[in-house]
């Protein structure tokens, strides 16, 4: 029995190493005083400095931030409504709502990107840019928020909503005093989740961004295609730190977030 456990532990450690070593290398070499990522030369922070003066990068970062904030806000609002609707009224036409909400989450991202590209250009004859990116991000984030909110509601004793009305609360007051306080952690976790997804998104944004606007991931992509530069390491490290913080926060608020992701 013990032998098997040791084997198990060794294998697990190997997998953890597999997960972390590549990223550690990226972070490490962001401080490498060399243009090449091949050998360690010396410690420096000049790549971070270079980053701060890279106008294109800064603009991309600003765009990403703006898009993430706006898209998450809208997605959280719509997603919360969807989550409530899916949990409280799974009857009639609304029975199809889960399909509508969850499919964008389950499908390969390229399909969503491509269909939105078609839709914007062919049907709406819209120039691709900030608006198209926003819409795309809202579409896939919405599902995540809905899942989290719905899970939160599902874990509650249903009769408390009836109890509130029984004791004199109108439907609105029931929402204000009972429903909302209870799902608030889920809403916040959903917001953070959407924000993270938006900041990180590459595939869908790639198709709907057009020529005028870049986001951080798109910028990173172009840089990677051109050359391997420690600047990329630097921006990667910063981005990792940011998303890490957000995910940690989100999982504090709603432990189901992690399960929801899967």
């Amino acid at each position: 029995m013990r032998r098997r456990i040791n084997w198990l532990w060794a294998a697990s450690l190997a997998v953890y190493a597999f997960l972390y070593v590549p990223l550690a290398v990226v972070v490490l070499f962001s401080f490498n005083d060399s243009l090449l990522n091949a050998q360690w030369v010396g410690f420096t922070t000049r790549w971070y400095g270079k980053l701060l003066h890279d106008d294109e990068m800064l603009r991309a970062a600003a765009n990403s931030l703006f898009i993430a904030l706006t898209a998450s806000s809208v997605a959280t609002l719509l997603g919360t409504m969807a989550g409530i609707a899916m949990q409280r009224w799974p009857v009639g036409l609304l029975r199809f709502l889960p399909f509508l909400v969850l499919t964008p989450v389950a499908m390969p991202e390229i399909l969503l990107g491509v269909s939105l590209l078609l839709f914007f250009r062919q049907v709406l004859d819209l120039t691709l840019g900030l608006f198209s990116i926003l819409v795309a991000h809202i579409t896939f984030s919405l599902g995540f928020v809905a899942i989290i909110v719905r899970a939160r509601l599902a874990g509650m004793d249903e009769s408390i909503f009836e109890a509130a009305r029984d004791l004199g609360a109108t439907p609105w007051r029931t929402f204000r005093h009972v429903t909302f306080p209870l799902i608030l952690p889920g809403i916040l976790a959903g917001f953070l989740m959407s924000f993270t997804l938006s900041i990180d998104d590459f595939v869908i944004t790639f198709f709907v961004a057009g020529v005028g606007v870049t986001t951080l991931p798109l910028q990173i992509y172009s840089m990677i295609k051109v050359a391997v530069s420690p600047e990329v390491n630097a921006v990667s490290t910063l981005l990792m730190a940011l998303t890490l913080t957000l995910i940690a926060l989100a999982s504090r608020l709603a432990p189901d977030t992690l399960k929801a992701k899967s």
């Binding site: 509650m156 004793d157 009769s159 408390i160 009305r165 029984d166 004199g168 609360a169 007051r173 005093h177």
Partner: protein, 361 residues
């Protein structure tokens, strides 16, 4: 003076009649129980009183006012839910004060009534605790307090004792009775447990498949069930198939095939020649050793087929001469004396002329 009038209420779900033309009159201040098996419609009826459902036919009147179309939050009726439905994010005090807040009472009054009510249910020291920190019995008291604090016209209780263990349940039963008598609010209690119903209620309505079978005080329901269903549902009952020989003014003469004549209490509207069942409670049967004088008019011979020792009583199964098996309950009044009779003993089983009741089929 009837506080709640239910007139000809029907509620259908597709082809199913959950509540079928029910009429009831509930008096102010009484502890009224709706008793019946699962699916009999008692909960549906309760929800219509609370306002979460509307009848398809018939009407409900509270203090003479029709309740149709009035939403739950506007009815002076509160419910204690089976799961207690305490708000998890509010403390005990906040939970109990909730109805007063919804009614817009001012802070001083809320504080005053909260203190009173907390003392009433013996939870003054738990005011700042949260529901997940409480035991089952404590949660139930919070739910009661919450439902009573603004003195509603009716308090509806949906099987509130179901989740408690036997000992706790007995204690809560006593507390509920005391509470209701003290506060004076009319209670409408829903349960499938006939023991609870008999112990707690001023009056009981026995329901089956959406209909009311019998409405009466507990002693009458138990002693004089109106039909087979009620007789069978409450406690254990012996049912002997009989034919009516004579329906005189003072008593009923019944013929049990293969057994003999049974004299029973009179029932109105019975004609001779009719077939029915004679219902007799096990504790009404007296067993005597074979050969002892028959002192009771209804007396028959039989053999002990089974005995079940329950500590305070022993339940015997006696096979009578006509092969019908009846149950008889005997108190084990001599301590340590396990049984009076053994399996296989020939005995005499008898009962008084005013015991039991004749039921039509």
């Amino acid at each position: 003076m009837a506080i709640l009038e239910i007139r000809g209420v029907t509620r259908r779900f597709g082809d199913l009649r959950a509540v079928d033309d029910v009429s009831l009159s509930i008096e102010a201040g009484e502890f009224f129980t709706l008793l019946g098996p699962s699916g009999c419609g008692k909960t549906t009826l309760l929800r219509m009183i609370a306002g979460f459902d509307e009848p398809d036919a018939g009407q409900l009147f509270l203090d003479g006012q029709a309740l149709t179309g009035i939403p739950p939050e506007k009815r002076p009726v509160h419910t204690v839910f089976q799961s207690y439905a305490l708000f998890p994010h509010m403390s005990v005090a906040q939970n109990i004060a909730f109805p007063l807040r919804m009614a817009g009472k001012d802070e001083d009054e809320i504080r005053r009534r909260l203190k009173e009510t907390l003392e009433l249910v013996h939870l003054a020291d738990k005011a700042q605790h949260f529901p997940h920190e409480l035991s089952g019995g404590q949660k139930q008291r919070v739910a009661l307090a919450r439902g009573l604090i603004n003195k509603p016209r009716l308090l509806l209780l949906d099987e509130p004792l179901g989740a408690l263990d036997a000992k706790l349940r007995e204690q809560m039963e006593r507390e509920l009775i005391a509470l209701q008598r003290e506060v004076g609010v009319t209670f409408v209690f829903v349960t499938h447990s006939q023991q609870e119903a008999l112990a707690l209620s001023h009056r009981i309505a026995v329901m089956n498949a959406g209909r009311i079978e019998q409405v009466d005080v507990p002693e009458q329901i138990y002693g004089y069930p109106r039909n087979r269903f009620v007789a069978d549902f409450i406690g254990t009952i012996n049912l002997l198939p009989v034919e009516v020989r004579e329906a005189a003014s003072g008593h009923l003469r019944l013929l049990a095939p293969g057994l003999g004549e049974i004299v029973a209490p009179p029932v109105a509207g019975v004609s001779s020649g009719e077939r029915g069942a004679f219902a007799l409670r096990p504790e009404q049967v007296r067993i005597s050793a074979h050969g002892a004088e028959p002192e009771l008019h209804n007396h028959f011979r039989g053999t002990i087929r089974d005995s079940l020792y329950l500590g305070d009583v022993t339940v015997y199964k006696i096979e009578l001469d006509n092969r019908v098996v009846i149950e008889a309950l005997l108190a084990n009044s001599a301590p340590g004396h396990a049984r009076f009779f053994e399996i296989g003993d020939a005995v005499g089983a008898g009962w008084r002329q005013d015991a039991g009741v004749y039921l039509r089929e």
